[in-house]
Subunit: 238 residues, 2 copies
DNA sequence: GCGCACTACGTACGCTGTACGTAACTAGGA
DNA sequence: TCCTAGTTACGTACAGCGTACGTAGTGCGC
């Protein structure tokens, strides 16, 4: 028996195998992949220990020899999708490189709509996450500011990506278990917003609401936000 | 009987009372307050329909006459803490005003550590949230950019606040149900990070790690990030 | 004053995470 | 070489969850 620890534990610190006993049937990567597959196909709420075990073809409780708590499964999942980052050779143009990284993060989140929801609760730094951070620092090599400032920039960019993409995606993930479509839900919410704004209680909001004609180009807004953040860090602006 | 809707519904669009039948024993505000109280004292995971009902002194299923789904309870909670925003008179200095708004949001999240976790999944715009947005727009009156850009700025600032504060807070909220303290968990995580960095696999990360001597002043980092974002939107910088 | 729309809420179901106990297995020490 | 201690595998069981459904009681509008 594993013996649940009464002391904090980082899953990445515990070795994947310990030698004695029967050969483990799966690797951590197998488990993470199974969980990711379920989350992608059936939504994050379908990621239960039972379902993951079934996907792997083992008993539910067997999972607990690999993953002490469900929260750790979440950490595995986050790190697993982190592996999808392409660690390209830095070009020397840090702004272009970081833009590319951000776009890639956004693409990953679009592929795995549950990522933003998990990011709010998961704090871990798995190997792939660390590799990605290292890659970002490599891209920022040409930028002449202290390392601490670079870390801040990375954090800020990631924050912006998460925030913006999460807003795009939230409805997708939520409506997965609902008997109506994303479009229907959005329509209802917009109708409600319109009705509220029409009461006259929020004049400035109303102005902003009516000023904007036609649909917003979310992609453009997103890119603009990134550019602005990078502007703020650029010692030799534009 | 209420009859669960098979169509999307915004809780704020449904009227609080309908006239016929026995007088409702509570208001939405009562319910939100009870849920917030539980979340503050016992953590977000303790916010179950049963516990909220018990806190109010009614049967579990009675809640469903007020709140069709649990997710709507979350919307009520988010909007309830939104009421804690002080809607001060704009000073004419939009940067100072927005900084104040951001600091206040941060303070609210510190008081209610579960807020960031909920924000990741909740998308609603309750009355207090709308009021706060209107207030932000009022603060941004002196800023000479299109309304759409102002909205982008507000979203970006809120995103930064959420991201930064969530990182501070995540451990607090998580360790609530754990048999160890925040400090213990952080120590373990830092030790793990240090050990990873020491392997030499992440040279740039290692440099950044060792360069920074002494603890980071999170408050300063936070304020700096806000200033930078505002710089990016300021037509007449610094 | 009757009826109906509404609230209140007990019961029940299927699901969750996971504590615990047992059986099978294998690497290291004698 | 065999033994045994440390592991893995996993069935069972339990407390707790969201909520569908049915029933009982209430009070406004006709």
């Amino acid at each position: 028996m594993a013996g649940r620890a009464a002391v904090p534990e980082v899953i990445w610190a515990r070795p994947e195998r310990t030698g004695r006993g029967p050969k483990p049937a799966f690797t951590r990567a197998d488990i993470a992949a199974a969980a990711v597959r379920i989350a992608d196909e059936r939504g994050l709420d379908a990621v239960s220990m039972r379902h993951v075990a079934a996907e792997l073809g083992c008993g539910t409780m067997s999972l607990y020899s690999y993953v002490p708590r469900k929260e750790d499964l979440y950490e595995l999942m986050i790190d697993a999708v982190g592996a999808e980052h392409e660690l390209f050779e830095p070009t020397g143009d840090w702004r272009a490189d970081m833009l590319r990284n951000a776009e890639e993060t956004r693409a990953i989140m679009r592929r795995h709509t549950w990522v933003p929801r998990l990011m709010a609760g998961v704090h871990g730094f798995g190997p792939h996450t660390l590799r990605y951070l290292e890659h970002c620092l490599a891209c920022l090599e040409p930028l002449d500011v202290p390392a601490g400032t670079k870390t801040e920039l990375i954090a800020l960019l990631n924050g912006v990506v998460t925030t913006y993409t999460a807003n795009d995606i939230a409805t997708v993930e939520r409506t997965r278990s609902m008997p109506w479509s994303v479009e229907e839900e959005n329509a209802v919410r917009m109708a409600y917003l319109g009705s509220q704004v029409a009461t006259g209680a929020y004049p400035r909001l109303a102005a902003a609401f009516t000023e904007q004609s036609g649909p917003v180009d979310l992609e453009a807004v997103f890119r603009r936000a990134l550019e602005r953040v990078m502007d703020a860090f650029d010692p030799e602006p534009r």
